[in-house]
């Protein structure tokens, strides 16, 4: 093992390594080196070099002021927001009014509505690819100013229709996600 010098003082590469061990010439003295592993790297190409790089995240995610909506799904209730000042009714909850800025309060939405618009996805984001084809709908409710995004179940892909009456159904084993509710033809 080499010893680097600065002036007359030896500079050791690893400060905590006993000097005697390095300086001695006893048989069996350990070479200092990093351990090798058999783990390689997935290589897709060499010119230029293209490797696989994995990255993932777990969030500790709060639903904050929207939490009552997700709790309501566990009781088979669909909750929207009603403005306490201008009476605007939101089918998708928001704690403050988009129109006038006032605080809203929770109210129970009807469980039946109509399809305002729809699509069937035959491809999707990676996370949802295995669920394709699936049908997305925006639901309108009588007397409510805005819409609600959900899945339509029980209708053949590509066969939904604007104006079709639909009703909400709920999962028994809740996931605390908006997919705890979904819609079927009424």
């Amino acid at each position: 093992m080499e010893v680097w010098k600065c002036g007359s003082t030896p500079i050791l590469p690893y400060p905590h390594t006993p000097l005697l061990k390095i300086m001695s010439h006893e048989p069996g003295a350990q070479k200092i080196k990093l351990p090798e592993t058999e783990e390689g790297t997935v290589l897709f190409g060499v010119d230029p070099i293209i490797i696989k790089h994995h990255y993932e995240i777990d969030y500790i995610h709060s639903y904050a002021q929207d939490s009552p909506f997700f709790a309501g799904l566990t009781k088979k209730k669909l909750l929207g927001s009603r403005c306490t000042q201008c009476n605007y009714k939101f089918a998708t909850p928001r704690s403050h009014c988009m129109e006038c800025g006032a605080k809203t309060e929770w109210f129970e939405l009807p469980l039946e509505g109509k399809i305002h618009t729809w699509t069937t996805c035959y491809f999707g984001s990676e996370e949802f690819l295995k669920e394709t084809p699936f049908t997305l709908i925006l639901v309108e409710f009588e007397g409510v100013n805005t819409l609600f995004l959900s899945r339509l179940v029980g209708v053949e892909p590509g066969k939904a229709e604007i104006g079709m009456r639909v009703k909400a159904q709920f999962l028994r084993n809740c996931k605390f996600k908006p997919t705890d509710v979904y819609f079927v033809p009424a």
């Binding site: 639903y63 929207d66 996805c121 699936f134 819409l147 609600f148 995004l149």
Partner: protein, 416 residues
């Protein structure tokens, strides 16, 4: 506010993948091209820059724009990063405009890039889908093509727009790209080709949708004094506008149309607007830009438009938002050939996003570069042929659009 001019621009060829260059080198290529076009401009004359890219996930690198600033040799000059979904490039262009208009900078570089090939297509779509409400929308089946498909379905219901009219947009834009060597998808198509390509999200097929890309673009903006020193063909930015809408489509109101000067309320007596059929952010952006530019009838007063056609349907919806025709008339507008190269107002002569590609952070700047070359009359020089050159073009509009219309910009450029 001082007048602001565009004096130069550069772009890389947009491609499905550019593994031979990382984001820094890509921007450098576009930057060097732009600098070569204004030989009197030296690096020390540049006061600062603005950067745009959409997703840190695509670069696998936070604060990637700092690395570009360094790579271009612009440190320690001021810079900042702009992000705004699909409108990122348009917002960046306007931020550079602000830097010069305010007097803070005399010469400002706007650079943008995206490297979307670094993940698989469907993982890339997942990143993009995270630009929707991740509590209420994404978990239901987050997929931007699905969101736009719901909007077009409603547009079809309200106005009678047809999938064949949408296919005409694809035919036009892929056809224009045959003459644009920077474009990723030049194609000669028929309506049958478009309708028979794989259905992605009903009614949008693969050929109704732009492709993900790697690419970079650079614009150089300057004050009047600097513009006069740098080029004999500067292009003045005469109108700037921007608009927004709620992240969740479900939240959008069903009310009255924001009117342009050449419209009246009676034109839209029974229309509930914007709902989910139109982009009021686009209308707001156009209204502001037209007011600033003194435009009262865009179809008569503009010579071309480069707009955000991530989907064929978006182009039709945007004809209406920009007031090129009334709301509801976008389908007949394309059907009548009004937006072709030889029509009343060529829309997306470059090929648009459908055919050029959509490297998100570069796209809005790419539009500015093509508009600049059109107004300079230098399409022949930069594209190697003049097929796409619009003769005597004096005014062009560029339009940049994000996530179902949550951020939209409109900028109007004029030849001097």
């Amino acid at each position: 506010m001082r007048p602001v001019y565009m004096v130069s621009g550069g772009i890389t060829k947009f491609a499905k993948a550019h593994p031979d260059m990382d984001f820094r080198y890509m921007v450098k290529q576009a930057f060097d091209y732009a600098m070569n076009d204004v030989p009197n401009l030296t690096r020390d004359m540049i006061d600062g820059s603005v950067a745009s890219y959409f997703s840190d996930h695509f670069t696998r690198q936070l604060k990637a724009a700092s690395m570009v600033q360094d790579y271009l040799g612009l440190c320690p000059k001021p810079s900042k990063r702009i992000e705004g979904g699909g409108a990122t490039g348009g917002l960046c262009f306007q931020a550079a405009w602000e830097a010069v208009a305010s007097g803070r900078m005399n010469v400002c570089v706007a650079f943008g890039f995206e490297t979307m090939s670094r993940v698989s297509t469907w993982k890339g779509n997942e990143f993009i889908a995270h630009a929707s409400d991740t509590n209420f929308d994404y978990p239901v089946g987050g997929f931007y093509t699905g969101y736009y498909a719901m909007m077009v379905r409603r547009h079809m219901h309200e106005f009678g727009t047809t999938v064949e009219q949408m296919a005409l947009v694809s035919i036009k834009n892929h056809g224009n790209a045959l003459y644009n060597p920077y474009a990723q998808s030049p194609m000669k198509l028929t309506i049958e080709d478009v309708r028979n390509s794989p259905m992605v999200a009903d009614p949008l097929t693969m050929l109704d949708i732009c492709t993900m890309s790697d690419g970079a673009a650079v614009c150089i903006l300057a004050s009047e004094e600097m513009a006069a020193r740098l080029t004999d063909k500067p292009v003045k930015i005469i109108g700037i506008g921007a608009g927004t809408d709620s992240m969740r489509m479900a939240d959008r109101p069903h009310g009255k149309v924001i009117l342009l000067p050449h419209e009246s309320e009676s034109d839209y007596k029974n229309l509930k607007y914007p709902g989910v059929h139109s982009f009021r952010g686009g209308r707001m952006a156009a209204k502001q830009a037209y007011e600033m530019a003194g435009i009262t009838n865009p179809l008569e007063e503009l010579d071309f438009v480069e707009l955000h056609d991530a989907y064929t349907s978006s182009e039709i919806q945007t004809y209406e938002d920009l007031g090129l025709c009334k709301y509801g008339e976008g389908g007949p507008f394309i059907e009548a050939g009004h937006s072709t190269l030889t029509g009343k107002i060529p829309v997306n002569p470059s090929g648009g996003l459908l055919a050029c590609g959509h490297p998100v952070g570069a796209t809005g700047l790419m539009q500015a570069v093509f508009a600049f070359w059109q107004l300079q009359g230098t399409i022949q020089k930069h594209l190697g042929n003049d097929h796409l050159q619009i003769k005597n073009a004096r005014r062009g509009l560029i339009h940049s659009h994000a996530g179902t219309g949550t951020y939209i910009t409109v900028s109007i450029l004029e030849a001097v």
